[in-house]
Symmetry: C3
């Protein structure tokens, strides 16, 4: 298991949504592990964040912020935690095979934070 701090690679920085692209970091850790196949389990260490696999396209995150604001208004108490409950489990599991993450051509592993993180941190556990 490895716990690392994220070098900032900002995919989107919106008022209520910060998205960091951590794909390269996950790939580097996987390569360094020498493992061939299994599951890379990536989870946030921040309280109000999730990790998701998605395309990295900044317009999309604006649309996502709009949708989430429609569902849970910005001024609603506990908004960030309600969003986390709505979006589901905190982490994402990415299968890997022959030492490579099984991701679509445009898919990236993204850390989605509902509060701009001072020090974004995530956990990577490789199994298999």
């Amino acid at each position: 298991m490895t716990s690392v701090e994220v070098p900032y690679s900002i995919a989107s920085a919106l008022p209520s949504l910060t998205v960091l692209d951590i794909t390269n970091e996950v790939r580097r850790e996987l390569a360094g592990s020498g493992r061939e196949s299994g599951i890379a389990y990536v989870s946030p260490l921040d309280d109000v964040a999730v990790v998701r696999v998605q395309e990295r396209e900044s317009g999309f995150f604006c649309d996502l912020e709009d949708l989430l604001t429609r569902l849970v208004a910005q001024e609603e108490p506990e908004r960030e935690r309600l969003l986390c409950m709505l979006l589901g489990p905190r982490g994402e599991q990415i299968p890997f095979s022959r030492g490579e993450l099984c991701l679509g051509r445009w898919q990236r592993s993204l850390l989605v934070d509902f509060r701009p993180p001072d020090e974004p941190r995530w956990n990577l556990t490789l199994l298999g």
Copy 2:
């Protein structure tokens, strides 16, 4: 790890929601693996799909399509990807014990696709 194409077993084919029942395929792969206990990690290879454990009941998927249309209108740009973000991580993990998936009597492993897939594909990784 095994990556297989899905033989079509359509649980529901709605205008914006295709649901394939892949339980038998997951069971067959598990039986063939000779593994006793652990986690079967099932994830879609399509970009705008999720795998979920649910009962297979066609009326339910109509209700689900109605709900999702209420939350994200059919004409909204990037609708399929917004739905994926809303519904959470792409895959589902199913514990297995004594070589059998731990599923409730009516529960099935379903591939839920927001775009009718030409060639639905999923990934099964068995750990444990």
Copy 3:
């Protein structure tokens, strides 16, 4: 793999939402396993329940019930199953290291049930 019945530790008992705190039980199982690092995969055995990591704060669950009622009205058919689909995969995965769950200071492992369970049950699988 271990399947255990939950001793009742009720975090919240609302009309349409029962929340049980199973953190101590997961910790005890983990300690008993002697495992050092990996993933604790916790999933509900009830049909209309999810396991999530969240802070245990009763006011929050009232806000959550309000949100879910706004999204899926109480009288809607199949409400519980629609909520499960909306909230995502059934289980949550918690990394552990040096025999300890990697949870934030206030985070707990919660079994969230949309129907008051007669006999709440969950499955714990430790991998790694």
